[in-house]
Symmetry: C2
Subunit: 335 residues, 2 copies
DNA sequence: GGTGCTCCTGTAAACGATTACAGCCAACCT
DNA sequence: AGGTTGGCTGTAATCGTTTACAGGAGCACC
């Protein structure tokens, strides 16, 4: 029978009221009389009416959705954050659009494309290396940075990266290690830089030896961890412990050295960063710095919603605590 | 200056043409005269005009987005699939909305909510256990199932699950194993069932011993793999090899038994399923069945787009090939 | 009885695009 | 010259809501 989807007109006719009343019943029930409200709701029920989001959004000059702009969607690191974002957005009627900054040709255009497209009421940016220039476009929606951040005063949600690095290195020192290396994240990334300087500063603070060839270039990926392992193996004077800027690199490193018969933690100790789920199931289970990813997502979504509702482009930032998770990848060295 | 975002009216005024011409220039450039086109494009440039997607969608009776309904967004298994979906959707101007079937209270309502919301032109469903009843709603958009599937004739994209199981078990048999166990996925899941029966049938085919206590209940998670390991350890008569219905369970199992000093593959051989990235970096690297996840996403998106453009609710299905990836987690047993 | 409230509801104008339809003009043909 | 054609453009209706504004009903108070 009802081939077509009912519109607000149909409901109005069915209930014998005007469309305005139907609309009000649905959005601000308190202003319509009890009897009318019931009649309308009954009509809604009978017609199977569902509000047309597109029309509603057009009229209300909003889109009802938020874009999460992720550097690489295939990276599982983000999925849990997305879950956190969605858990906040969905209950209040916002949809989550995801987009990949790697897809497509020109990076600059893409960011401004998303900003100006009017496809979303707000943007969650996970990539701190994007050009800032498009962010100055006049009618742009509010933006919040998650995980990474820029030097500008854009609001952001991030974790205590420097403190995480410090926790990791301090732990290694406390376990008696004196030769501590580091595998970095990609160059030019704020996370890499912050964790690296956290590592450097902690060692300086305790006046411990630092050597350039104990710092290995990585890019957060497992493969880069494995590559670092090759470098480490070739070293004459190897550090006895490594702080890895990501769990994935720690996994890659560990797999590669174990393949060569090197034992972890007896021959080399490792501390990771992130506490992704798998590292607890490795053998040895990886000692690491925990980042609460769900919480990052939730906070970012919440702060962004605040900005959207307040209609402002500026907002507060938030720092999420990190925590050292001790497992079995660090050996105690007698001093 | 330009505080407000330019509308098509502004462009029309600026270019000295009607809004219709502007619209045509942007959607079907071939029908407008060269000179006009240039004038319009220049005006677009000057005003910084971006088409308002909401208004366009309302008029065209579409939404320009597709919903991916994932059982658990935090599960990294899906992120690569989402990337595949997006890589197809984005170039043709569709957005990807992601939603979690676990969020919120009533499952039944949620699916029908998404179906009727009119928020999307199509739906990609990753959960084969959802109730089918809402799928009979009249004005619903096209739906495609990915990975999992239902007994109905909904179009789907899936991998060769039975063949994957068969490849895994056959490989173990060829390596000389005669006592082969299995860790299953969650009960009631088609993937679990199909992989389990693939396992059973392959063993039957070769007339090999099967024992109920060699089949361990799992749910695809690492924890459930670790739990299976405990059961396996308590067994008097242990299978020498296990086919795990997911890589994650294989990881959990391997971690747990290695923790007890059991060696893989010398003491127990393992084959996983999925080929998630991390398993290549484990030690030993896991032998597994590869599912091309990006391809699953791409195909699902492509088939769904076909249905959307054709305006039909029925479509073709696609089966993606699997492949055995031999690594180091299976020992050869002298026979 | 008139005035002023309060409560509720209806009218109608937006929101910003797309597109069927019609009209205009120039060129071409007979 | 008149008719036809084809290429291009403009007019205006339309998509389905929301909401400012106005209006009517009922009531109380002076």
């Amino acid at each position: 029978m009802d081939k077509k989807i009912a519109t607000i007109q149909d409901v109005a006719a069915e209930a014998g009221v005007s469309t305005a009343t139907v609309s009000r019943t649905l959005s601000k029930p308190s202003v319509v009389a009890e009897a009318t409200r019931e009649a309308v709701l009954a009509a809604v029920e009978r017609t199977g009416y569902r509000i047309n989001a597109t029309a509603s959004n057009l009229r209300r000059q909003r889109t009802g959705s938020v874009i999460a702009l992720v550097p690489n969607l295939a990276n599982p690191f983000f999925s849990q954050i997305l879950a956190g974002i969605n858990s906040v957005l969905h209950p209040v009627g916002y949809g989550l659009l995801v987009a990949d900054t790697q897809a497509g040709p020109n990076l600059d255009d893409r960011l401004s494309g998303y900003l100006q497209s009017g496809m979303a009421d707000g943007l969650i940016l996970f990539d701190g290396t994007l050009p800032v220039e498009p962010l100055t476009t006049p009618g742009r929606p509010p933006v919040i940075l998650a995980c990474e951040w820029m030097d500008d005063d854009l609001p952001s949600v991030r974790t205590e990266n420097a403190r995480g690095a410090s926790l990791a290195v301090t732990h290694l020192l406390e376990m008696g290690h004196r030769h501590i290396g580091h595998i970095t994240g990609p160059k030019g990334n704020v996370l890499s830089q912050t964790r690296l300087s956290g590592y450097v500063e902690t060692l300086s603070l305790h006046q411990h030896e630092q050597r350039d060839d104990w710092i290995f270039d990585g890019d957060f990926s497992m493969d880069s961890g494995a590559a670092a392992a090759q470098k480490w193996l070739q070293l004459k004077d190897r550090p006895t412990a490594l702080f890895c800027a990501s769990d994935e690199m720690a996994i890659g490193f560990m797999g590669a050295v174990q393949h060569q018969g090197i034992r972890v933690p007896e021959d080399v100790s490792l501390v990771g960063f992130d506490n992704i789920e798998v590292v607890g199931h490795l053998s040895p289970a990886l000692t690491t710095i925990r980042q609460r990813r769900t919480q990052i997502g939730e906070q970012a979504a919440r702060l962004l919603l605040d900005m959207i509702e307040a209609g402002t482009l500026t907002g507060v930032s938030e720092i999420i605590e990190v925590e050292l998770i001790c497992r079995d990848s660090v050996a105690r060295i007698p001093t």
